[in-house]
Symmetry: C2
Subunit: 708 residues, 2 copies
């Protein structure tokens, strides 16, 4: 035995299999059946911005100084994270979204790809970079005029002006329209007076606000000539810049507080800001969507104050898109670690004298991990589609109100699904690795803590799902209104249009051939592994749920406010459930659409099993619904679980390949338990017992003596 630290263990990451080892391994993984071509799949999964994604991963792999340092004080972590941002700024990756004329790349999609991969280095780096370039600078970019971009973006881009994105207030988080901060125009001096009228209107939870920010994009109620034009964004310097470039004291009238220690992401200095009649020039209202002239008269290209508000907020959708991507990446990292460990770790011998089983040979372990591999693939492909749509809109390729609305709905649905999924998955992985999973060095707890807030920031998931549901119900309502105006009316409508309304309007599901034979679901369910059967079961559920909730909400349209509120309250849970079902469908559709594009036949076959696992798992999760709505017979429903179990066994030989294909190497995983150390320890133990037996000195077991 080694009495000092085991070199295999401490070497950790470097002892892990290399890419060529992995390539070799695939040829031996599964006997005569199909096999996963790992390098080809890995390349394919890089997606549309292959080079940018690979480059971002290389950046993480080659710069260990960017990797999260665990167990350090928040003050140190904050400074390190800022230093890492300064290291990133000159490389230009972080500027890809900005205009070429200012040194950017005019490439919205490629930009997000780079951002989301930063989660593999340190989620604090991803989010603090997101605050600076994805929120603060983005607000200037998307809400400012070209003149304001030219004037204000360079400092935000090169980090000479670290900034906070001051939207949320202590008293108002999700309900941005109700914030209390005011920006009152003073025509005398041609200035806006930014003011915090009460404690609840303090800006809160703002990244960079506690220490580093010297400016902020502040959202406030714009008041001019006695009229409140609603929430607008203002560029407001908040701290002096010291001669060495660091942030100095608050500027006059500005104050704030540190939010202190958080459940995670302690590399970011979240804090509070408040303003006591702080004056900024008229020209620092970010004026793309609304302008105030010298005399105080207000103009906007968007007449409706409501639509104007949502257009401004919508410009910031990229945060949600990139959180979706980062959450999927974190799930991959967690699952890759847990699966590699479970493939080696052995526990309990089925009977005396037999070798202990690996964790993957336990049905419970397969149940805990494998459906999550399937769901991660589904989320991956859905995110790819979302990135595409985001790029289409933000590159201007197809920037219409309809595509923007699709983008917002899809981002809200997928961000909710993937961020919750990441937390659940990281927790399941941590538990599946027992005590070793609780050690920070094995990543799960650290990633989970950092990702925790993803489910409530950039849109609380429950609020986002409600937006999704309202959109679905709204589309249904429009279709219904159309149908009731035409002869034939409601009956046909309920069968056909509901589905169409719920699904065809959204891009990822546009291709869905839904429920042409709506009445046939039950008969069609004869083969649950049939793609069309799965599609019908999933799509029909969304359509039916939307229809039910839409019909339930109808009376609210003509009711007085109190009754309407009561009706809404009675349907709120259903609304959320309908939106979740929709997110599930989006992901299943994305996975299914991706299958024909997978380059290798064997890989495609294994991924099809995986897609079936995802589809059937969704059906299993909602089995009561399918039974209650007569979509599955009891007999058929009873086969769902056994079908899944068979598929889980089938993919057993492929799971290491499937997680390897995600392309996260030892420098990304960095978990000693996924380094091969466990196998080395077992080999050593096996050799010891073998030698002991051979020596003739092995003690006899008391049990054996008693038997004899």
């Amino acid at each position: 035995m080694t009495t000092t630290s085991d070199p295999v263990e401490t070497a950790g990451a470097t002892a892990a299999p290399t890419a060529s080892d992995r390539e070799k391994a695939t040829t031996t993984s599964s006997g005569s059946g199909p096999r996963v071509d790992v390098p080809t799949l890995e390349h394919h999964l890089l997606g549309r911005w292959k080079e940018e994604r690979a480059q971002a991963r290389r950046l993480v792999a080659e710069h260990p100084e960017l990797w999260k340092r665990e167990g350090i004080a928040k003050e140190e972590h904050r400074e390190l994270t800022l230093a890492h941002m300064k290291q990133l700024a000159p490389l230009g990756h972080v500027h890809l979204a900005f205009p070429k004329r200012l040194g950017g790349g005019d490439n919205a999609g490629a930009n997000l790809v780079g951002f989301e991969e930063m989660v593999a280095a340190d989620p604090s780096l991803q989010i603090k970079a997101g605050v600076q370039w994805g929120l603060f600078a983005s607000a200037i970019f998307h809400l400012g005029t070209p003149e304001q971009q030219d004037r204000l973006l360079p400092g935000a881009m090169d980090l000479s002006v670290p900034g906070a994105f001051a939207m949320t207030e202590t008293g108002h988080g999700s309900d941005v329209a109700s914030i209390g901060t005011t920006a009152t125009y003073d025509p005398e001096t041609e200035e806006f007076v930014i003011h915090t009228p009460f404690r609840g209107a303090w800006k809160d939870y703002l990244g960079n606000a506690a220490v580093h920010a010297t400016a902020a994009t502040v959202f406030a109620q714009l008041v001019t000539n006695g009229v409140n034009h609603g929430v607008h964004c203002f560029y407001v310097p908040v701290r002096e810049t010291n001669p060495d470039g660091t942030a100095g004291a608050f500027l006059p009238g500005v104050g704030g507080e540190d939010d202190g220690q958080k459940g995670g992401l302690n590399g970011i200095d979240n804090g509070r800001l408040h303003f006591d009649h702080v004056r900024v020039p008229r020209t620092d209202l970010l004026a793309r969507y609304g302008q105030v002239a010298a005399d105080g008269s207000y103009t906007s290209s968007i007449d409706s104050p409501g639509r104007r508000f949502f257009t401004m907020l919508g410009a910031l959708v990229q945060g949600r898109v990139s959180l979706d991507g980062a959450a999927v990446a974190a799930s991959k990292i967690g699952l890759a670690i847990a699966v590699k460990y479970a493939a080696e770790r052995r526990q309990f011998a089925p009977s005396a004298g037999v070798e202990e089983l690996t964790l993957l040979d336990y049905a419970t372990h397969r149940r805990r991990l494998f459906p999550r591999i399937a769901e991660t693939y589904a989320s991956h492909f859905a995110h790819d589609g979302l990135l595409d749509l985001f790029h289409t809109v933000f590159s201007g390729e197809e920037d219409t109100p309809a595509t923007r609305e699709d983008l917002e709905t899809t981002a809200a649905a997928l961000k909710s699904a993937s961020t919750w999924f990441a937390l659940d998955t990281l927790q399941e992985c941590r538990e599946a690795c027992g005590g070793a999973g609780f050690l920070t060095e094995n990543r799960f707890t650290s990633l989970r803590s950092d990702l925790d807030v993803y489910v409530t920031f950039e849109g609380d998931n429950h609020v986002l799902l409600q937006l999704v549901a309202k959109r679905l119900v709204g589309e249904f309502g429009k279709e219904m209104a159309r149908a009731t105006r035409s002869p034939g009316g409601m009956a046909r409508f309920v069968v056909d249009q509901a589905v169409d309304a719920a699904l065809h309007r959204t891009p990822l599901a546009r291709a869905a051939q839904v429920l042409a034979d709506a009445g046939d679901v039950r008969r069609a369910a004869n083969n649950l592994r049939d793609e069309e059967t799965q599609r019908k079961l999933l799509a029909d559920r969304v359509a039916t749920m939307v229809e039910e909730v839409a019909m339930g909400l109808r009376p609210a349209l003509k009711a007085d406010p109190a009754v309407a509120q009561e009706i809404f309250d009675n349907h709120q849970v259903q609304l959320i459930e309908a939106a979740k079902a929709y997110a599930d469908l989006l992901r299943w559709e994305a996975f299914t659409d991706a299958l024909p594009k997978v380059p290798d036949a064997g890989t495609r076959e294994v991924l099809t099993w995986l897609r079936d696992i995802f589809g059937l798992t969704l059906v299993e999760r909602n089995l009561a619904w399918y039974l209650l709505h007569g979509r599955l017979s009891a007999t058929r429903a009873q086969t769902v679980t056994s079908s899944i179990d068979r598929l889980l066994k089938k993919i057993r030989p492929h799971v290491v390949d499937l997680v390897d294909a995600w392309g996260y190497g030892p420098e990304h995983l960095r978990a000693p338990i996924a380094s091969g150390a466990e196998k080395a320890r077992q080999d050593e133990a096996r050799d010891y017992y073998r030698a002991l037996r051979a020596s003739g000195k092995e003690p006899v077991r008391e049990k054996a003596i008693r038997k004899a």
Copy 2:
């Protein structure tokens, strides 16, 4: 507005309502319906060891220096925690379980009550104290002879010998029987040679091992005269004690490593230990259940090596019991904070000009929090029963193999249920409080991180549930064997005995009048709020699941090992599910049994609604099962959710009372968001807007102008 830190906010805990405020509040909470008598319920919930529990809570409340310090380095946290243990040791609470002759209290139950309440101060303190007194000293107490107790317990009790409990190895966690460490008897010197033969046999994850332990109770394979008698426990000094009482260098032959940063509980110095032919005297084998004479001959009062092993491990069941209690306490703290905040926090107005709704007025929020209040009450009462049973066995009142087995099964079932529930609940609470929930000061993330490992230590929950299921299946098998030997045979058996076997053998469910009319469940389900209906639905599910899995496993008895393993594998997931259903039933039974004992009629009525919420939530969670097994008609099943929703509205006026009755005051909750600060901020904002309106200077909304 206040531009400096808000005194209400920073005063935090002290601004929270006092006990007398709360008493007052109950009279106004719910109009004409029943009301919760908070002081009476609070007193009642203190349970059998009222004074000890109240005293432990007072200790926490009155000693802020014991409260977890957040964001400090693990080194500092470890020293603080040790210092707090030294502060506790002379008070004697922590010694209640030990013999009176050594300064203890011979009171197993009261002792655990005190321990589990420590979680309100700092979970690290609870667990590090648990390592010292609940594991290390307990091993000496329960596995040692009276002579060994007299010799070794005083140092363990007064903390002059901080100790590690060295059972788990890197290579073997749950499977203790397979550990690699050996203790080989050398009759020449009358010593045991403790040895770690390979890296996988290093002791791992041991509290106190990284820094503080000067001794350890080491589990090793006892080998004497060439025979391995299985795992036994040895008292092994591991470090020198410095003159100042601190731990010094490792003793010769002993080595180790720090486990480093963990996902939580960083006040505990977990670490690894290994032994290179370390010699301990023959008399330091803890010899209650197995002795080695000077000549090396082995004797034991328990013939079967298997039974002996499980008896030794069973002596340590108290860890599981206290984790169950601590997990329930942590759930209470989390829910109390989230509910108090949600009762004040307002968000979104249902229509313009109307006041914003409190979070509790949202159906989703009620759904997220209220069923958890119900489940917490159920877990509370179940834990009370478990404590009783534990005390009955460990006080010797009724210490039989049957009561021990009942205790182990119940502890395994409840510990699994309550520790998972605590994690889920703390997470839901954190999300329900949005960004504020992510701030460490509001407790959720900190408690959740610390409690994370509760689900895998002192028995991994999945392994524990498997033990529970095997017990249930075993009882079923015994009954079946009896039935098949008698005339009448299987048919009657399957209907009656299965249920009896599964339920009547275990204490908490012993009183259950189960399924006298097994065939009538469907008819009886006419009123889902009927107690007998709920009991039948829940008990029948357990009985049926146990029967199904027992029948499924039967062929394994006569199969060869490989086939048997395959059969087991095919039923493993079902086994776990059956055990979970059993834990649910135990908790529902405990809640139901507790109702008649609740002293106040109004309180009893509200708690009965809460019990119904718990029962129906369990049915709703498993609705597909009830439908597939014909236990609920589709029509009836469709009413489950609406019944729950009605009950959730009904308890809406009582939820603050219900969490107040748990007896955690501001010094235990310590969360600024539960301090009344939110209401103060809203009052300030409301006053501001009222004054603005009154002044005639309120800006007109653009929307209003456009409408006009």
